[in-house]
Amino acid sequence: MTARRYHLLLAGLSALVLALFLASLLIGPAGMPLGASLAALFGGGEDILVLVMRELRLPQALLGAMVGAALGLTGAVMQGFLRNPLAEPGLIGTSGSAALGAVLAIHTGLAAAWPLGLPLAALAGALVSVLVMLLLAGPRGGTLVLILAGIAISALAGAATSLVLNLSPNPFAANEIVFWMMGSLADRSMVHVWTAAPFMALGLALLWRIGPALDALTLGEDTAASAGIRLGRLRLAIVGGVAALVGAATAVAGAIGFVGLVVPHMLRRAVGASPARLIPASALGGAAMVLAADIAVRLVLPGRDLKLGVLTALIGAPFFLHLILKTRRQGL
């Protein structure tokens, strides 16, 4: 795997993301003329067109790219860190806890009373999961403790979510909760973009330079430590960074499964299996996948409000099975 081929791959993925981003801006139920749409986005034009483009399509496309990139990136980070292709971003319990926060916001009426109520409650849920995780897995806690703590937190958050549903006083609230949990990017506004952006930026900053450490971990923790990697610090950066990215993504889009699991798989061979190189490639691949899936839900059943998370799982799971079959044929 030469550096040239890797840069070509990144350039190709970037072009794909850009194309899908534009497509996401231009494809929708309103069926507006192409030129007028773009003009409305950048300059001006009919008021209704400007409104649709800037207040509906633009945030939806931006969130698609951001959420997809966050999921793809954290998937690659978790798989690299745990040296396990089955690891996924939800493993440390953040997505479950963020979902619990959101569900509580819907249940208590906070979400209806205040547009920022739901995403902020979800972020608070994510933060609680990180604090519990740090308490349990601590600076000296090993990787196994981290995984077990993640499973425990996920299970607890899942049970609490079920409890809220169980005790839900009216079927409409329960309905809303169930639909929210399926994950969607429809009817989001720029407020959602600005809510998620700072947390995603924080997550990116924490995970910015961990590439070499993940590469070193390919040969196990002892080899990595003896090559100069500070594992305790790496663990903290990963817990914080993954939680910020996944928490923000879940807060604005709900639970969108399989992206963080499948995208790193699809790209691993193409980047020469280096965990460090997989991180940017996976971020771009995740953005492309979520943008494509979000366009697909608009086209497949336009009137039925097909949820994004349902589609990613419907496409992702068979694709995953196909990958497993392929791996089996290679006798690995």
Partner: protein, 250 residues
């Protein structure tokens, strides 16, 4: 002579039970030290504690260093030959350069090339490391440790599972590293190869050093009986030191 590794009164307790006690060991440039001992004697624990990978009492010159400084003082090849991802051999060897984050790209490339040449990995360099045979993987991992270019190389059972030619070849490489002014500390189970190639042997028994010195003074009948429970034939012939285990002492 400055020591590459200096252990003073090193001890490790696990669940209140001492697994390593009062270890004193000094390794200088030019030494190829073979660490011997039966299973459970504490060889791996000693190597990991010396590198600071395990909390220990006493003092180790490597454990007191910062991670980055230590990585440039000693390279480690652990016993479990874990390779998580199907990376090409060349990329795997280049992982050794992570210890030198500030190095120029040309220096990194040269070091990787030297390690690949030293381990004869030229034909395998583009093959995914996970698809290689066990012996080839071991060679790639040794090359990774060499690419770290640290004065001391610490290896936990580096020749286990290799075919005879590869074993001799690795032992010769380590002896050559020591000859060029480096230091090697390797735990070994093959006493015959240890006797032939190591400049010094350290025999561990129940967490303590039972014998330390040149091969002939360590592989004595008394030491072998006490530590390993075996009898053996040791002779110095025209081809050097010959060692053959003979029987178990009932």
């Amino acid at each position: 002579m400055t020591a590459l590794l200096d252990l003073q009164d090193l001890g490790v307790c696990r669940n209140g039970r001492p697994v390593l006690e009062r270890i004193g060991l000094r390794i200088g440039a030019g030494e190829f030290v073979g660490l011997l001992g039966p299973n459970g004697a504490g060889k791996t624990t000693l190597l990991r504690a010396a590198l600071g990978l395990l909390p220990a009492e006493g003092r180790s010159s490597l454990a007191v260093m910062g991670n980055a400084e230590r990585a440039r003082a000693a390279a480690f090849m652990p016993q479990g030959r874990e390779i998580a991802w199907p990376m090409p051999v060349e990329s795997l060897v280049a992982l050794g350069r992570i210890a030198h984050p500030g190095a120029a790209r040309a220096a990194d490339r040269a070091a990787v090339q030297r390690a690949i040449t030293a381990l004869h990995l030229e034909d395998l360099r583009h093959r995914p490391a996970t698809e290689l045979s066990g012996g080839e993987q071991a060679r790639a991992l040794i090359a990774r440790a060499l690419a770290q270019e640290s004065p001391l190389l610490v290896a936990d059972e580096p020749i286990a599972g290799l075919d005879p030619a590869a074993q001799i070849w690795v032992m010769r490489l380590f002896a050559r590293l020591a000859g060029q002014g480096g230091g090697v500390l390797a735990s070994l189970h093959d006493l015959g190869l240890a006797a032939r190639f190591c400049t010094r042997l350290v025999m561990l028994h129940q967490g303590r050093i039972a014998a330390d010195g040149p091969p002939e003074t360590v592989l004595t009948a008394a030491n072998l009986a006490r530590v390993f429970g075996i009898t053996a034939h040791l002779a110095r012939g025209p081809q050097g030191l010959l060692f053959q285990p003979l029987d178990i002492i009932p």
